[in-house]
């Protein structure tokens, strides 16, 4: 994949390339979240992210300036995810181009808010740590172990419906907790 090219007349200096890597790191929570939203498979998401980083690092090492790092990474992620699905001979889970476009729009709208999402991530980590044991167990099974709801329900000996309800409440409670923490500690 080629970097967006408003090619400079002279090679970019080290400071510009360092800045480019810093922007990548600042955008990282959103880049990873976008990939996760796109592929909805923890292992594949990790693979895609690593490959996006390898491609980004390569263009940076070759001195190419990426004008919009987040958009470049989203485009790279889409390509890499497609390659991954093709390689695994899997049907692309997001067959609906309209939905894919809405996912892109959602992330694009947050491009200028990298600082906010860094605060959000820090607050979310604190909120996760503060969860009671039962909720932590649920989150761990669902997202750390990447189990589908039916399997989580089987592990816990509960119905699928009650696990769905518990997860919905927990996710909303986490969102509320993050909002409150950010309000209390604005940067």
């Amino acid at each position: 994949m080629k970097a967006e090219s408003n090619e400079p007349m002279v090679p970019p200096d080290d400071a510009a390339l360092d800045h480019q890597v810093r922007v990548f790191l600042e955008c990282r929570p959103l880049i990873q979240a976008h990939i996760r939203t796109l592929v909805r498979d923890a292992a594949l998401a990790e693979d895609v992210f690593q490959e996006v980083w390898v491609r980004f690092e390569r263009v940076t090492r070759h001195g190419e300036i990426v004008v919009n790092v987040a958009a470049w990474c989203r485009a790279a992620a889409r390509l890499v995810a497609l390659e991954g699905w093709r390689k695994q001979s899997r049907e692309r889970p997001v067959a609906d181009s309209e939905l894919t476009a809405l996912v892109e729009q959602a992330y694009e709208e947050q491009d200028e808010r990298a600082d906010f999402w860094q605060d959000h991530t820090a607050a979310l980590t604190q909120c996760l740590d503060a969860l009671p044991a039962r909720s932590r167990d649920l989150i761990t099974r669902r997202y750390h172990q990447d189990l589908p709801i039916a399997e989580v329900a089987a592990h816990l000996g509960q119905s699928i419906g009650s696990v769905k309800t518990a997860l919905c409440r927990l996710r909303l409670a986490l969102a509320e907790c993050v909002r409150k923490r950010i309000e209390l500690n604005p940067t």
């Binding site: 390339l17 360092d18 890597v21 790191l25 929570p29 959103l30 979240a33 976008h34 996760r36 939203t37 909805r40 923890a42 292992a43 998401a45 990790e46 693979d47 690593q50 980083w53 690092e57 940076t60 090492r61 390689k87 889970p93 609906d96 309209e98 939905l99 809405l102 996912v103 729009q105 959602a106 992330y107 709208e109 947050q110 959000h120 991530t121 979310l124 980590t125 996760l128 740590d129 044991a133 932590r136 167990d137 989150i139 761990t140 669902r142 997202y143 750390h144 172990q145 990447d146 589908p148 709801i149 592990h155 769905k164 997860l167 919905c168 996710r171 909303l172 986490l174 969102a175 993050v178």
Partner: protein, 306 residues
């Protein structure tokens, strides 16, 4: 916007289980509501953080059955002395073999060779040695911690990965035998692998990765797959996964990566590959350090709810 309904649709979307009607409803919500789109991003961030963040140990502690037996026998004063000593000794041995119940998970360690890299040895300068429990890697060696180097994570020694030529990443690799250690169970099995990396230049784009894969061949057969990069291994594997970290400026010192991998019944060999890289020209690169790598079968993963 009905937030609960939106969360229900998110959950179905995550599991690829939206019905045609739900898909239409989901798209309509996202198209019409900036708040719903922002919430979609929030949900993605939450999933990603929850997948990689290791939460504090739960208060759910399950003890091995022997501890419960010891408690049942405790009131019998006449037999107490001999019984307590006997049971205590047994449970010490037991604890060494299954090191962690603290998070409600029972693990059984796989031998990886040279635990904690405490034995001084010369590592083969190849991608993979064709046998299990033998660490190897290009420009890789076991070194003493301290002095101009960081202090080892545990013990005195650790692995150093030197800058690789041609701007490639650095790797240290090992294989483990799965057939000889596989627990007897009719349930699907997983292995959990944990590695520690020292953040040498945090905040400057350095990148640490832990990649793992299972194979149907023995170690000699597997070692032939690695021609150029980890991608060669992934393509030949039965199952594989990986995780990377990019330490931020404040994340100094030792960092931890943990991954879990499904192990199909036909898997005979596990490959663990620890990598690191720093962007930029090779002359600006520094050594990287790794320590304390463990791989363990997940034996029981059903913590009782409090």
């Amino acid at each position: 916007m009905n937030t609960t309904r939106l969360e229900e649709l998110f959950l179905a979307y995550e599991d690829d289980a939206l019905s045609p009607e739900e898909l239409a409803e989901f798209k309509k919500l996202l198209a019409s509501s900036p708040e719903a789109r922002r919430r979609l991003v929030e949900a993605g961030v939450m999933q990603n953080i929850a997948a990689s963040h290791v939460m504090p140990e739960t208060s759910v502690v399950r003890f091995p059955q022997r501890a419960a037996i010891w408690q049942q026998w405790r009131p019998l004063a006449a037999a107490a002395a001999g019984l307590v000593i006997g049971c205590f000794s047994t449970s010490v041995v037991w604890a060494l073999n299954t090191p962690s119940w603290a998070d409600g998970i029972r693990r059984m360690l796989l031998p990886l060779g040279n635990p904690g890299f405490e034995r001084q040895e010369t590592l083969s300068q190849v991608h993979l040695v064709p046998q299990v429990a033998q660490w190897s890697g290009m420009d890789t060696e076991i070194v003493e911690g301290g002095g101009t180097r960081p202090v080892a994570k545990e013990g005195g020694r650790m692995i150093r990965l030197g800058p690789a030529p041609e701007g490639k990443g650095y790797f240290a690799n090992v294989m483990a035998n799965l057939s000889e250690t596989r627990p007897v169970t009719d349930k699907p099995l997983q292995i959990e692998i944990t590695a520690h990396y020292h953040a040498s230049k945090p905040g400057q784009g350095e990148h640490y990765s832990l990649n793992v894969a299972t194979f149907a061949e023995d170690a000699a057969g597997v070692s032939g797959h690695w021609e150029n990069t980890w991608r060669d291994m992934r393509d030949a594997s039965l199952t594989n996964t990986g995780k990377a970290i990019f330490p931020a400026a404040a994340e100094t010192g030792w960092q931890t990566i943990t991954v879990r991998l499904d192990v199909p019944v036909q898997a005979r060999t596990l490959v663990i590959s620890m990598g690191s890289n720093t962007p930029g020209p090779i002359e600006g690169r520094t050594d990287h350090f790794m320590d304390e790598v463990t791989a363990a079968w997940i034996i029981a993963d059903k913590a009782p709810l409090p």
